[in-house]
Symmetry: C2
Subunit: 291 residues, 2 copies
């Protein structure tokens, strides 16, 4: 069993980006500039955004953090996005999810200019991704592809089972793994809350992506020997033995599943670690397309 080390691969991606950005600057070109919008004070969101801003600094990117209280009116937020769309100094825009109730996620995503949508959530990016046109791929699925690529895991002809059909992970990774690309050509089964016989389906899988958000859901009896297991889950579970009062759990019961796998991602340090690297990759692309 080999661990797919997200920290290691993310660092390699970031090192390569840093070099490229240094080169850009030497040529007198602009560094990539990411604008992040954070609404309210949700703990996880604060952590994610802080981490994105910090990574920008590490790589020599510019970043702008714009904060709103969670009482912000939708119109004010959309106006802010439009200003960022029009600003030639901003290459990438992300609005940290989830949003407060009074704000339509759909409207927010559709308002971000597709060419600055480094989260890859805009319908036109999703559509281009489906059709195999150049597009920003959402960070989590993109991070998974980068991991598979780094470890040279052959996907062609493998049976991949995806658990969870969210627009930001399950759905796009199900599409990407089934496309005619070097990290695709899997037969893909997409499972969700209405799936019957999930255990039997998982037992057929050469590759499982667990992305349903239920801690330790995937157990050893659902995994065949030699499978590749990708754990997208990242849930805070109360744990009084920890200083913070919680532990981070994936969707995979790691201790029992890992011994059966050919490859597995740990949590933390697996897919989660890759996500920001993938976002930085998208932001770099957004910046260089303009120069």
């Amino acid at each position: 069993m080999q661990i797919l080390d997200g920290k290691l691969v993310a660092q390699a991606v970031k090192d390569s980006l840093k070099q490229k950005v240094d080169a850009l600057k030497k040529e007198g070109k602009k560094a990539p500039h990411l604008a992040a919008i954070l609404i309210g004070h949700n703990g996880a969101s604060e952590t994610y955004v802080a981490s994105k801003v910090k990574t920008c600094e590490e790589l020599g990117y510019q970043s702008t953090l714009i904060r709103f209280e969670d009482t912000v009116e939708e119109q004010v937020l959309l106006q802010q996005i439009n200003e960022l769309n029009a600003d030639n100094n901003i290459h990438g825009i992300l609005v940290q999810l989830p949003l407060p109730k009074q704000i339509s996620e759909e409207k927010v995503i559709n308002t971000i200019a597709a060419e600055k949508d480094v989260d890859g959530f805009h319908p036109s990016n999703m559509g281009k991704m489906i059709q195999g046109q150049p597009a920003y791929i959402p960070a989590t699925p993109y991070g998974i592809l980068l991991l598979l690529e780094h470890y040279k895991i052959e996907t062609k002809g493998k049976h991949a089972v995806i658990i969870g059909r969210s627009n930001i992970v399950g759905r796009p990774i199900s599409i990407l793994l089934s496309q005619n690309t070097p990290t695709g050509n899997c037969t893909v089964t997409l499972c969700h809350s209405h799936t019957r016989n999930l255990k039997e389906i998982c037992l057929q899988a050469d590759l499982i992506v667990a992305a349903l958000g239920k801690p330790e859901f995937l157990t050893a009896d659902m995994v065949k020997d030699g499978a590749v297991v990708i754990d997208v889950g990242i849930t805070r579970v109360e744990d009084k033995t920890k200083k913070k009062g919680y532990a981070i759990k994936g969707d995979v019961h790691y201790d029992t599943v890992a011994p059966k796998c050919s490859y597995i991602t740990p949590v933390p340090g697996g897919v989660g670690a890759m996500t920001i690297a993938a976002l930085m990759q998208n932001t770099y692309l957004a910046a260089t397309k303009k120069q």
Copy 2:
């Protein structure tokens, strides 16, 4: 075994559209107006376009047919599309595929204004479809959904196996059947040329969509008793006993598969018959959104 009668359901859809268009006209509103662009003289394309124009007439729609020789320059075609985009009297635009070599299908599709893209091929429509936002659904998958709906075939929790991953049929129907909608909530397996054990996978299916374009590919030994079988194939196979010199064959070996099925679509008279009705439905939507 019950036949899913595409002709019957298509007629019901068309009858309902005709009534609605009559009502529109009585209110002094414009009838839907479809512009079709046909390039060259491919026999099948000629037949499809003629059939679309004829259906427009039957339903009281306006239609405009624009023809180019297959030597047309890309720029000329794109310019024509832009004129149709700008024309307020045109509600829907379709460019009949396939295109001659010198013309990029991607550019053509991306040039059609998304709100007039009644074929549902524009990336922004595809992306909205994925995200469950209102969108034009490509005619063939839409026709399949209308058939399932008409015959009240329960899809929730069923295992659907799709053979073929094309952007216009296999891929979108795999997405639609797995969404959280009344004609969705299937567990979906998407298969293609790199799929191993296709027979074993098909034998698990409660619903099979054969959309690979190989005549009589799906045989009885690949289908479990009671399955629903949807045949998207429509290939001309030489047949000297026929007046035209060819017969139309589906992707399913109908004579042996049909007796095992709970429901099956015939070819012709199944999915193919639904496709134009679905296109007319999209064109009606495009027209009424503007009025």
